[in-house]
Amino acid sequence: MFTFILRRLLLAIPVLFVVISLTFLLMRLTPGNPFSADRAIPPAVLKKLEAKYQLDGTLWQQYTGYLSDLARGDLRLSTKYLNRSVNEILAQTLPVSATLGSLAFVIALGSGVVLGSYAAVHQNGWQDRAAMFTALLGISLPAFILAPLAILLFAIYLPLFPVAGWGDLDQIVLPAICLALPFAATIARLMRTSMLEVLRLDFVRTARAKGLPEHVVIFRHALKVAILPVVSYSGPLAASILTGSIVVEQIFKIPGLGPFFINSVLNRDLFMVGGTVLVYSVALILFNIVVDVLYFVLDRRIKLDS
């Protein structure tokens, strides 16, 4: 187990290296400068700015300088937000996005697993059809369609929740649900398929033959095995929630990382883009390692070191 985690962490280093190199070179090699999007800057001023942000010298020097700063955990200064470091911006915005994202993750997982199992138990009945139609509809309604509609319905026509903002408990409900629902739909479909397969297995028949009540058979015995595909899907799920939260944060005016990232891309804010992409990738790689370990804990048949 320990060697497995260590190996995965070591494998992550080349991946992050490629990610950061691609981002840096793409941003630096294409025309346009990271200080002003449209105005041309006088050469003397540009030279000074480049020196301040360590963007002078050859491309190779800039690149290796940036890499060594990153290795020390210094994500450098934002080229757009004056005198603010990328570390500082991330420290302010990342917790907000993480809160929203993890709540959405829990909602998606919980409702998806319940809906999918429910559909599987009532296979081919009207409950199954209704649940699966809901799930198909959910997949076709991404967060950026759901969110404006939800605001219209539940914040304006029926003023149950605030329209936008961040800080109060009731301000997180609507965005988290909008972010979660499309993924809940995907999980429900996965869960249904896998539950149907598990319900045919021998150990479920044994459990039923013992005379256990149906809900015990399903929730204690079958669910443990049937949830495995959902566990392995939660890696890509986390990635999608992360990108989904970019639009949700924008619509609900939530001060998370998403709007900063989009602005920094549009402004060619080199180090802000680099830092955000790096943080996104690190978060997902760590999350995937956790998922794989969890998979191992849940399914003893898998051997991590093989």
């Binding site: 991946v15 329209v163 890509p236 790689i285």
Partner: protein, 301 residues
């Protein structure tokens, strides 16, 4: 060489009314997207009264600049469907090539390529598309000007979207194709072709590919809605097609800015959301039904 997979057009789902309804909807939408904008009586950038609710003059109302919403939605359908189809096709090309090579060569090459795929699966791919589109916009305009094609500059973003979205959505296709190749390459007709001394490229192209066509087409139909969704996502963020040309995502994001409790312009949200949701629902349903019909595992119910 025979395929034991049933022909796509002979599947039982062609007698399923909801499947036919979805196919009909998509066909109607394609026709409306191609022909519709010239029949609504307005250009997509023709200004009229602002914020007028749906009426006989403007079936879906007008937006904050007085543009006719129906015209813009149909024009947006053109762009969304175009990006969806072309982007899915780009992803198909990459995915099939990657999967076929990985499965056909096998051994350590297969191992390395599949691990790389696992890594790509877990990265925020759309984030790279955002960076790619933003970074390559200026250079692509410069190249186009150099080639003397000034006229297509407004459409340059479309080109970037085709490539960018195609570049991120090929992973599932690659996995499916690799799995198929692994099975097919052990079959006797492929072994026979090898024994006859046919080249690897020829075996892949003439023997393996035709046998995978059904499953490739199904995953193509499943990729189209995903690409449409991603295009609208990017347009919503202002990285898609450029104003005043409309796309579903940019229409929605403009409408979202005019949500306020004092004056409710419901048509600005309901029509774009309805158009998009119905289209994605129909495309997803078609893809699902075809997959279930061809996947032997889902048949043993």
């Amino acid at each position: 060489m025979t395929s034991d997979q049933p022909h796509l057009l002979k599947l039982p789902c062609w007698r399923d009314p909801s499947f036919l309804a979805c196919v009909g909807f998509v066909v109607a939408l394609v026709i409306a997207a191609i022909a519709g904008p010239s029949f609504t009586g307005y250009r997509y950038d023709e200004m009229g009264p602002q914020f007028s609710p749906p009426s006989w003059k403007h079936w879906c109302g007008t937006d904050f600049l007085g543009y006719d919403l129906l015209t813009r939605l149909l024009y947006g359908a053109r762009i969304s469907l175009l990006v969806g189809f072309v982007g899915a096709f780009v992803s198909l090309t990459i995915g099939v090539a990657y999967g076929a090579i990985s499965g056909y060569i096998g051994g350590w090459v297969d191992n390395v390529l599949m691990r790389a795929l696992d890594v790509l699966y877990s990265l925020p791919r759309i984030v790279f598309v955002i960076v790619l589109v933003a970074a390559l916009e200026k250079p692509s305009n410069i190249w186009i000007t150099k080639l003397g094609l000034h006229d297509i500059i407004p459409d340059a973003r479309l080109l970037l979207l085709f490539i960018g979205l195609g570049l991120v959505e090929w992973l599932t296709m690659a996995r499916i194709v690799r799995g198929q190749v692994l099975v097919l390459k052990e079959l006797s007709f492929v072994q026979a072709a090898k024994a006859l001394g046919q080249s690897h490229a020829r075996i892949l192209w003439q023997h393996l590919l035709p046998n995978m066509l059904g499953i490739i087409l199904i995953y193509l139909t499943l990729t189209i809605p995903v690409v449409i969704l991603e295009e609208s996502f990017l347009s919503f963020l202002g990285l898609g097609v450029q104003a005043p040309a409309p796309s579903w995502g940019s229409i929605l994001s403009e409408s979202a800015q005019y949500i306020n409790p004092l004056r409710i312009y419901w048509w600005l949200l309901v029509f774009p959301a309805g158009f998009m949701a119905l289209t994605l629902l129909a495309l997803n349903f078609i893809g699902d039904t075809l997959r279930d019909a061809l996947d032997p595992r889902s048949q043993k119910k």
